[in-house]
């Protein structure tokens, strides 16, 4: 079974802090994704990566950056956290477009 592991289930940070969310997958998938999930808005794509050191912006990249130095690890960075970034963050990985996407359990991030 594919395993996508997110480093924290719950995280509380302060406004202005730099925040790192980590995601690791164990299936050698090329494609990895970061989503934000808010009530009534579904899953919105922040960034994705289709190879090591490659990244592309999703629908809502403002205020975020990503890093993919190794194939199995994809990090989401909030450069200067703000209260409107309080949300559930989901990481996912996939082999290719016609294959299932596998999600992590999510990180519920609160910015105070």
């Amino acid at each position: 079974d594919v395993k996508v592991t997110q480093s924290s289930r719950y995280l509380v940070k302060r406004t202005g802090e730099k925040v790192f969310l980590e995601c690791v997958q164990d299936m050698d998938h090329e494609n990895m994704f970061w989503y934000r999930q808010d009530p009534g808005l579904g899953l919105r794509l922040i960034y994705f990566s289709y190879d090591v050191k490659m990244k592309e912006k999703g629908d809502i990249p403002e205020g975020y950056s990503v890093s993919r130095e190794k194939k199995e690890r994809f990090s989401l960075i909030l450069e200067s956290a703000s209260t409107n970034q309080t949300s559930m963050y989901l990481c996912a990985s996939r082999l290719d477009i016609n294959q299932p996407q596998h999600f992590g359990d999510g990180t519920r991030l609160s910015i105070l």
């Binding site: 994704f33 477009i97 016609n98 294959q99 299932p100």
Partner: protein
């Protein structure tokens, strides 16, 4: 552009049927369906590819009408375990690197 899911929410009793629709303003190459239970990660249900096929396993099936740019998920004889939020994800070209997800349909099955 985000696909539109309908209804936004549905409540039914065990044993009843439900249909969830996913419509796109763009031509579709594939539609992916996921279910997310409260507090858990979304779980893959099925993928439908261009060609109007229908797929299913157990009592959950789906159809894909590329002319209407629409997919429908059918849940028959609902069980309590079907409760959750259902998302469709669409790919317009077959070469897109990412899916665009709808806002979800919350399904509640009561005993």
């Amino acid at each position: 552009q985000q696909p539109v899911q309908s209804p936004q929410a549905v409540i039914l009793r065990e044993g009843e049927d439900a249909v969830i629709n996913c419509s796109s303003s763009k031509a579709l190459y594939s539609v992916h369906w996921y279910r997310q239970k409260h507090g858990e990660a979304p779980v893959f249900l099925m993928i439908l590819l261009k060609g109007g096929e229908q797929k299913g396993h157990d009592k959950i099936s789906a159809s894909f009408n590329e002319k209407k740019q629409q997919s429908s998920l059918y849940l028959t004889a609902s069980q309590l375990s079907y409760s959750g939020t259902y998302f469709c994800g669409t790919d317009p070209s077959g070469s897109a690197r990412q899916l665009t997800f709808g806002s979800g349909t919350q399904l509640t099955v009561l005993p």
